[in-house]
């Protein structure tokens, strides 16, 4: 398959999460046309492509937010079911959505625990949904996660997200994904709203995730960032794979060409 053919450089590490032949349609839009994708533990896989190439859609499929029309999911080589966000969470997959997916009417600590709120112990006669929230525990968790990311401008974890700046929101969305027990972390254009200093922090977070043996997927349009943090680069175009490169064996120009024109023009451009 294309995957093997286009593999450049040394043999790929064994995949932790892999998908094969992912199809996704939105009405008339064929957003993903049989995409293959994989990421190994202790590696940063960059995912690049023009706007509309299908990067975010692929991430949402991997996070269970969209149900794929077709395709296989493999975790450590074993087929797994991925049809709801809960499936992804249980498999240890966390995501920072491009649109952040925060609730502006809730405070920072509530957003960081959203969907996984801690409850006080000892109310087991009640269904989980009706047990008392441990909101102080939530604040403690939030403070830890925020401190790790060094969001110094954030004054209180009890501030409503609606009143925060774009950078602060982005940091909170990242903290939410990173603060949860996980083996795969996917970041969809996480530095889009950030300044230079904050972008550095995100890149440091990404490197730390790799050091702690996470499988990291990193989407960005910034070639310098990608070549700084990634180990491999998967290029998508019009909802299909173009190729997967080993970062140390390629250069930004080659990636940009693959993104914009695909591989068939490569011959004409061969340097």
């Amino acid at each position: 398959m294309t995957f093997e053919n286009t593999m450049v450089g040394q043999a790929a590490p064994p995949a932790h999460l892999a998908v094969r032949g992912i199809q996704k349609r939105f009405g008339g839009v064929h957003a993903l046309r049989g995409v293959d994708f994989e990421v190994a533990r202790g590696e940063v896989m960059a995912l690049v492509g023009d706007n509309g190439a299908g990067k975010s859609t692929l991430m949402k499929v991997l996070a269970g937010a969209h149900l794929a029309d077709d395709g296989e999911f493999l975790l450590d080589g074993k087929p797994v079911e991925m049809s709801t966000p809960n499936d992804a969470t249980e498999l240890g997959i966390q995501i920072v959505y491009q649109d952040l997916a925060l609730c502006e009417n809730l405070d920072v600590s509530a957003n960081l625990s959203l969907g996984a709120e801690p409850v006080k112990p000892g109310w087991s006669f009640l269904p989980h949904l009706l047990r008392p929230l441990d909101d102080l525990e939530m604040e403690v968790k939030a403070k830890k996660a925020i401190d790790k990311l060094e969001v110094r401008t954030l004054q209180s974890v009890r501030a409503k997200v609606g009143g925060l700046s774009g950078g602060q929101r982005q940091a909170i969305a990242i903290a939410r994904a990173v603060g949860t027990e996980s083996s795969v972390v996917m970041l969809d254009e996480p530095t889009a709203a950030l300044g230079v200093a904050q972008t550095r922090q995100v890149l440091e977070v990404v490197k730390r995730l790799r050091e702690t043996n996470h499988a990291v997927v990193y989407i960005s349009h910034n070639m310098r960032d990608i070549f700084e943090v990634s180990d491999r680069i998967t290029v998508l175009r019009h909802g299909s794979n173009v190729a997967t490169y080993t970062t140390s064996d390629t250069n930004p120009d080659e990636i940009v060409v693959a993104m914009t024109r695909g591989l068939d023009t490569e011959n004409g451009n061969a340097a």
């Binding site: 997916a101 925060l102 609730c103 502006e104 009417n105 969907g115 009706l130 929230l133 409503k160």
Partner: protein, 406 residues
């Protein structure tokens, strides 16, 4: 410069409304203004213009306050239920008609010899089913709640007329009447009030001390104690005022207890948190794995439950069930108005059931006060409309992002 100063005021206003108790301030101010006007200003004007020969604070007399609370109770019950779906960003136009069907069914059941308590359980169940049925259509078929509940309003109005062909039925069952008639003995009322205040203070202080041990930021002691003292003052004033006329009615105790339960569920459980999350951003709620559809159905079931309770309360208080008192009258608009005047957002994600009770008091006080001054029904409608408009305007203006002209 003028608009700039205004904007910072608005910003500050929205910021205040975001805090836990700041959300009560606008509705409490509105209530204070109405009570001050009808209770103090109007009698003073009468006195000075010589129309009255002594200062008569009829509006603020314990007797009138008692009636005011009882008059507002049915509106408040429905408003509390409607608040739950407003939090989701939905609306329920059928609540009053549901209450009407439940009340009519209650009347027919007790008339045919079903014991009062059993009839109450049956209509509560029926109310829940009526609400949940609409919730199913909204969540799983994807019809907007406005449309489904508008159809529900019409359909349930018709159903009520089917159950009550004469449009009127007396309810004499002692159990049902008892809910509004039974009074808590004065002393017990005071004990109950003090116990509630004690629990409130204990919970707040305990939270504060846990914050300290966990190394979290603390609420300022001033804010903490003023909260406790304000709460205590309100509870004690209400209990003593009601005792001064009759006593604490069971109906109000039940209403406060149910509201406290729903208040706790909405603010302090994962279920309640997901209501707010869906109201704030349904897509993120879905993406973190919340069962948004089931949540919608359950929220409409809660409205159905509260509507049934409202129907029982109404039947108990009036001793009769009539078409105009529920389905065909102004109850629905008053209940939605109460929720919104209380400060619950029509846009979802912000509000509280306690605010609905205060909002119902605002509506009830307006009606009661205008009645006392001999205003016409037309005046009442127009004033209520203006107040509702004001409340919605405040809601729209204090939406995040609106102050900066987005």
């Amino acid at each position: 410069m003028q608009p700039e100063a205004k904007m910072t005021f608005l910003d500050r206003f929205s910021a205040m409304r975001e805090t836990q108790f700041g959300a009560f301030v606008p509705v409490l101010l509105a209530l204070a203004a109405i009570w001050g006007y009808f209770g103090l200003v109007l009698p003073l004007i009468d006195l000075m213009s010589g129309e009255a020969d002594s200062f008569r604070a009829i509006f603020l007399s314990p007797r009138n306050i008692y009636n005011l609370f009882m008059q507002s109770a049915v509106i408040a019950t429905l408003a509390v239920g409607i608040t739950i779906v407003l939090l989701l960003g939905d609306i329920d136009l059928s609540a009053a008609a549901t209450a009407g069907v439940c009340a009519a069914l209650l009347g027919v059941l007790v008339l045919s010899g079903v014991p009062g308590w059993l009839a109450c359980i049956i209509v509560i169940f029926v109310g829940i089913v009526m609400g949940a049925a609409q919730g199913l259509l909204i969540a799983y078929v994807g019809i907007p709640s406005f449309v489904v509940t508008l159809a529900g309003l019409l359909g349930y109005q018709g159903l009520m007329q089917k159950i009550l062909p004469t449009g009127n039925l007396n309810v004499g069952d002692p159990f049902v009447r008892g809910i509004a008639r039974v009074l808590i003995p004065d002393l017990w009322g005071i004990v109950l009030g003090l116990a509630v205040v004690g629990m409130f203070a204990y919970a707040n202080l305990r939270k504060q001390s846990r914050r300290k041990t966990l190394g979290l930021e603390q609420d300022s002691p001033l804010a903490l104690w003023s909260q406790v003292i304000a709460f205590a003052a309100i509870v004690v004033a209400v209990v003593f005022t009601l005792n001064a006329y009759r006593s604490l009615p069971l109906l109000l105790v039940l209403l406060v207890a149910i509201t406290a339960l729903l208040g706790w569920i909405t603010t302090s459980t994962p279920y309640g948190r997901s209501l707010f999350a869906v109201g704030g951003n349904p897509e993120s709620a879905r993406r973190v794995g919340m069962k948004v559809k089931r949540l919608r159905v359950s929220a409409f079931a809660i409205v159905g439950f509260m509507a049934a309770i409202g129907g029982i309360f109404g039947a108990s208080r009036y001793g009769s069930v009539s078409y105009t008192a529920f389905a065909g009258g102004s109850l629905l608009l008053e209940a939605i108005g109460a929720a919104v005047i209380g400060g619950t957002s029509l846009f979802g994600g912000r509000g509280s059931v306690w605010n609905a009770i205060l909002g119902a008091l605002v509506i009830g006080s307006l009606g009661n006060g205008l009645d006392l001054t001999g205003a016409s029904a037309a005046d009442k409608l127009m004033v209520s409309g203006a107040i509702l408009l004001l409340a919605v305007a405040i809601d729209a203006l204090s939406r995040p992002g609106n102050g900066s002209g987005r």
